[in-house]
């Protein structure tokens, strides 16, 4: 962070002098934002999509109101995720574990690939034992899911406990970073000039409470080998011009079946769900007369 212009400045260049009052004010603001965040759970209950519609007023926010209604026609449920900078990663983690709770075969494969990731990270030169500590913590958790020690309600209790949830989340941050580092040549050109991929990974991916940008999103999706759809609910269209974006790219929209669907509202991700097929199509079973 050498800045030639600053080097020649007089003696106070070393620090930004902030008065005690300003600091107190900043602390109060930070505290208020934190309190607001903590008022909502890390991972909310699954709620009907009507809860989303109810957030918007037809008069004052017509664009959002209309979009919420359109979404409610396609999706039946929403799970709100706390907006603390981890929301994308947390939403993916919750969405994936929900699938694994119902798919033993996929769960077993996922455990194997998580173990492989531990080795891949060590090979990439991640600080050995601190990183493997996060890996082991996650693997232990997911193995308990496999063995039925963690039932569904335990899983959601753990996801809502700040301490354990952050440990689990950190594993996903590390494999995101690992994936980017393994494909450095491919991703480095997307970074702002002067920033190395290693630097980017350390400050934006591996640090907690940093929001995921496009690079972080695609890397996590590829590291986990999952398919996701992001529904955009802002005044702009999705990057591909539609209202949603499928990842990884390059799949035919018509045949793409996402594992996890996220709702994007400016700066934030939540999980959304389609109703199970049986509920939406209401199959006309022959009734016994």
């Amino acid at each position: 962070m050498v800045n030639d212009a600053l080097e020649n400045q007089p003696t106070t260049a070393g620090i930004v002098t902030t008065t005690e009052d300003e600091l107190i004010l900043q602390d109060q603001q930070m505290k208020r934002i934190e309190d607001e965040q903590k008022a909502s759970p890390l991972v909310g209950e699954k709620m009907p999509c009507a809860t989303l519609v109810a957030l918007y007023d037809q008069e004052t926010a017509p664009a959002f109101f209309e979009k919420a209604n359109e979404l409610a026609k396609v999706y039946s449920h929403i799970r709100f995720i706390r907006g603390d900078g981890n929301c994308f990663i947390r939403a993916i983690q919750v969405g994936l574990v929900e699938i694994l709770l119902n798919d033993k075969e996929r769960l077993v494969k996922f455990i194997a690939s998580s173990k492989e990731w531990t080795e891949r990270l060590v090979k990439l030169g991640f600080p050995d034992w601190t990183c493997t500590d996060f890996c082991e913590f996650f693997i232990e958790f997911i193995e308990k899911v496999r063995d039925g020690v963690h039932q569904r309600e335990d899983v959601f209790r753990i996801f809502n406990d700040d301490n354990t949830a952050n440990y689990l989340l950190m594993f996903f941050r590390l494999i995101t970073s690992g994936y980017l580092k393994e494909h450095a040549a491919e991703y480095e050109p997307f970074l702002d000039e002067g920033m190395s991929l290693a630097q980017y990974c350390e400050t934006e991916i591996e640090a907690m409470w940093k929001e995921s940008d496009h690079l972080g999103i695609i890397a996590l999706v590829r590291a986990l080998n999952i398919r996701i759809r992001i529904e955009y609910m802002d005044r702009n269209a999705a990057p591909n011009g539609g209202t949603h974006h499928n990842l990884p790219d390059g799949h035919d929209n018509a045949t793409f079946t996402p594992d996890i669907t996220l709702l994007y509202r400016p700066g934030h991700y939540d999980l959304i769900y389609k109703a199970p097929l049986a509920e939406t199509s209401k199959p006309a079973l022959p009734t016994v007369a």
């Binding site: 034992w129 601190t130 301490n163």
Partner: protein
């Protein structure tokens, strides 16, 4: 302190005791009863300006450790005179604020500080020492640092 933080700190402590990295003196009084604050001795490396000198680092861990950085300052009678260390013990080192990641550890912080000492070319405090020490917050993490020179 949360269970998870305590578990991680116990692991770090055991690691430090078994590895016993060169240049670090691990305080035997750190026990599981007081994991919140540790004191670790650092010994200036041979062939550097601080060769053989012993300084004490104080680590204070918040409830969000390791997701937030520990507070690390020099304490005791001798604070090393160094262009990035203020006479009140505060250290200007990016991994202690902006560049902290949970993959770092007490050990990696100590080793960074040792290497910072080793690369010093003159024994003096930062040029703004007098004004900083007078006006700074007690907690160095409240300081918005400008990292003026990465080479030291």
């Amino acid at each position: 302190m949360s269970d998870a933080a305590a578990r991680r700190l116990m692991k770090e402590l055991n690691q430090l005791k078994t590895e016993n990295p060169a240049g670090l003196l691990i305080d035997n009084t750190i026990t599981s009863h007081d994991l919140k604050q540790w004191k670790i001795g650092v010994v200036g490396a041979e062939g550097t300006l601080y060769a053989g000198e012993v300084f004490t680092l104080q680590f204070t861990f918040g409830p969000q450790y390791p997701f937030n950085s520990p507070e690390v300052i020099f304490v005791g009678d001798t604070i090393p005179a160094h262009p990035h260390i203020y006479s009140n013990g505060h250290i200007c080192l990016s991994i202690l604020s902006d560049d902290w990641t949970p993959a770092l550890s007490v050990q990696s912080v100590c080793l960074s500080i040792l290497s910072m000492l080793s690369s010093s070319k003159e024994k003096k405090h930062p040029i703004d020492d007098a004004i900083y020490v007078r006006t700074c917050n007690k907690n160095p993490s409240k300081t918005r640092w400008w990292f003026h020179d990465d080479s030291v």
